[in-house]
Symmetry: C2
Subunit: 408 residues, 2 copies
């Protein structure tokens, strides 16, 4: 008997062929969804993970229109597609999620600050400034202040800490005003935060929102290095307020798909909003192995306007550790050592060439349900025991990531 024709499911088109598109591949395969990628090059790392792909320039509208043909919804690996092109796709009847009216809040930090303020959510003190004089006026004599380009910054780029008025008048800040090409730059107080948090939620076009537990995100040199899920020792009131803020932002800005709200944890002031990302985010990679529904599956469900999956933890805690490129260019040379030393590590490699500091993979380590808590001394509190468990997970995740980075 000949087999009946394969069932064809919805087609999700992703603009950009980086690791975020790549990691949507497994989730799409499991659900039977077709993932189609518009890649920068034939060897973009998402290509082998996608059911189909085209190579083309995301800045070219004709390319985008052609790519959108036969796709049920367009979504993104990155936030760099010109918004006028996205508007043109919408006009042509293409579903684009998230929509450019939402996306602008992840693209332009001044637009984002205004929106956060309007929603009554906690911003740092901020101002849009046009000149060194504006910046000095904003500082009110309290230095340092932070100067940001409204667009184009990521992983610590586009951010300048200005230590003093004389540096503002004579240093890089003055050059930024002269040469950046932006009408306004964003000035912010230097927030006295103790750590960074991330509140991750997903929202569908019809308005369903689900949140994952708030996590702690540890940055090194402005780049995400490690994520602890859930954020250790977080005041339940702060957790609830942060989650609620992320839900409000997702709903009121009309975000669809996954949105990461990066937060500063400021003792005595609760949290302040740092910035927004409208796509699966590094601070959510832990969910691939630590939650019932990971962020990549949830993003696909959300942009297709399907009901969202359960976001509960699978184990009791998960640590995500990024693998940043080092001297070693063959990540596979460390496989035997990492797999024998840390058999519980979930290894994720992105298939990208290694360059020092480049994000080339990550590992997740989860404390499973049935695992006994680490040995505790008599009289230790539950929090001490949770801290010990988190500390043990971090050691394992760091060991695994270092073995991958350094190779055999």
């Amino acid at each position: 008997m000949p087999s009946p024709a394969p069932v064809t499911g919805p087609v999700v088109g992703v603009i950009g062929g980086g690791q975020l598109a790549r990691m949507m591949g497994p989730a799409a395969t499991e659900l039977g969804i077709e993932l189609r990628v518009l890649a920068e090059a034939p060897d973009s790392c998402a290509v082998p993970a996608a059911a189909s792909h085209e190579v083309g320039d995301y800045k070219d509208l004709a390319t985008l229109l052609s790519f959108a043909d036969g796709v049920d919804v367009i979504t993104f690996d990155h936030e760099h597609v010109p918004n006028e092109h996205l508007e043109a796709l919408l006009t042509a009847g293409v579903a684009v999620e998230p929509r450019p009216t939402a996306l602008v809040h992840a693209q332009d930090k001044i637009v984002m600050r205004r929106a956060v303020e309007k929603l009554g959510l906690p911003n740092p003190r901020w101002a849009a400034v046009k000149s060194v004089e504006d910046l000095v006026a904003f500082a009110e004599g309290r230095w340092p202040v932070v100067l940001k380009t409204p667009r184009g910054g990521y992983d610590g780029k586009g951010v300048l800490v200005v230590p003093s008025e004389s540096e503002a008048r004579n240093g890089t800040a003055a050059a930024w005003f002269a040469e950046s090409g932006f009408e306004h730059l964003l000035a912010e107080e230097a927030v006295p935060f103790t750590r960074e948090l991330s509140a991750l939620v997903a929202r569908t076009p019809t308005g369903e929102v689900r949140s994952w537990p708030v996590v702690e995100s540890i940055q090194v040199d402005g780049v995400c290095d490690e994520v602890l899920a859930p954020a250790p020792g977080l005041d339940p009131e702060v957790e609830q307020a942060a989650e609620s803020a992320a839900r409000t932002l997702a709903t009121e800005l009309g975000v669809t798909g996954v949105v990461a709200v990066e937060l500063f944890d400021v003792p005595g002031r609760g949290f302040l909003v740092n910035e927004l990302a409208m796509r699966p985010h590094n601070s959510g990679h832990w969910s691939m192995d630590g939650a019932v529904t990971g962020q990549f599956e949830q993003h696909l469900r959300a942009v297709l306007d399907l009901p969202l999956g359960d976001t509960g933890l699978l184990g009791t805690a998960t640590v995500m550790k990024n693998v940043l490129g080092g001297e070693n260019t063959d990540l596979f040379s460390g496989f035997t050592r990492v797999m024998s030393s840390v058999p519980e590590a979930k290894v994720h490699l992105y298939g990208k060439g290694v360059r020092p500091g480049r994000k080339v993979g990550h590992v997740n380590v989860t404390a499973p349900a049935g695992a006994p808590a680490p040995e505790t001394n008599t009289g230790q509190s539950g929090q001490d025991s949770a801290d010990q468990r988190m500390s043990a997970l971090r050691d394992r995740a760091r060991e695994a990531a270092a073995l991958l980075r350094d190779g055999a």
Copy 2:
């Protein structure tokens, strides 16, 4: 700065493009391994999940040799490649895992019975029989007996329950002896089992073995329908003996990759070996969402001779329920209902055309670590509470699978 060339990892070649090959795709993507499939047709269901593929006939040696070029190891979606071709691949220097000397025990039930006996593991009473007279002699007056073709049977095919001597002499059994073309058929006692179990392990060429917890496998009309992990209420001694038997078989038969040892649970006799499968197996699909390392990742690690991953449970229990084709041919039409009704269900669709009774997908539902046990009455034992939890998981998995099967 131009990006450095992508890092290329090991290449695993899978012969066969069915759902088992397909489900290796996500695991390969996460590890950065290249999965290359030899598919029966361009629309075989593994094709969109694999990094690369060729279309060709696995019964043709030239096709196999060409496919093996540039592949680090050959493994399988099914057990139907002629063993002489596999020997020829080995002679040509190609790594083939599992090797044909092991594989024959999953292909030929008489060879398997002899090996189980030689290893001192518990077989049902059995004999290789050439004629109706042999069968009648084997029965010793105790009917029914079970007659099996040594090769080619699966999902209940190739198995005949012979109820009486007169049926043996005049019914289908007599026709099998006359027409089956096998020199011997396999006669087995009709085992008075209460349920079926499956002991799943993986083994590497250098001899590392890891086992998952023994599961209960529920068959309907000879086809796997539901799997309960771990097997409820299993006597710890039986569990340990079953796991140990699976390890012994894997080691002594020189199996590599995943091997499923299907067992009969027989009150008062412990367990008896039913049959072996040397590849990821339906009774291990639960591990994709319920164990730290799922069977597809473990199979890839094993055939590449990489250290094996942790096989511990992520939650406290997982139920796998198969989605068998029904009247509805559009499985996606049920997505909204299944995802809203059972948000904790992990949906796996195989991208295959629907035909009544065909395996087209499965769902997994896991009881997470942090979930409270279901409400219990005063005085209930832990086992009652575990039974209630398993029963609740089964209800959820069945609901999800039915919604997918029946559609909107």
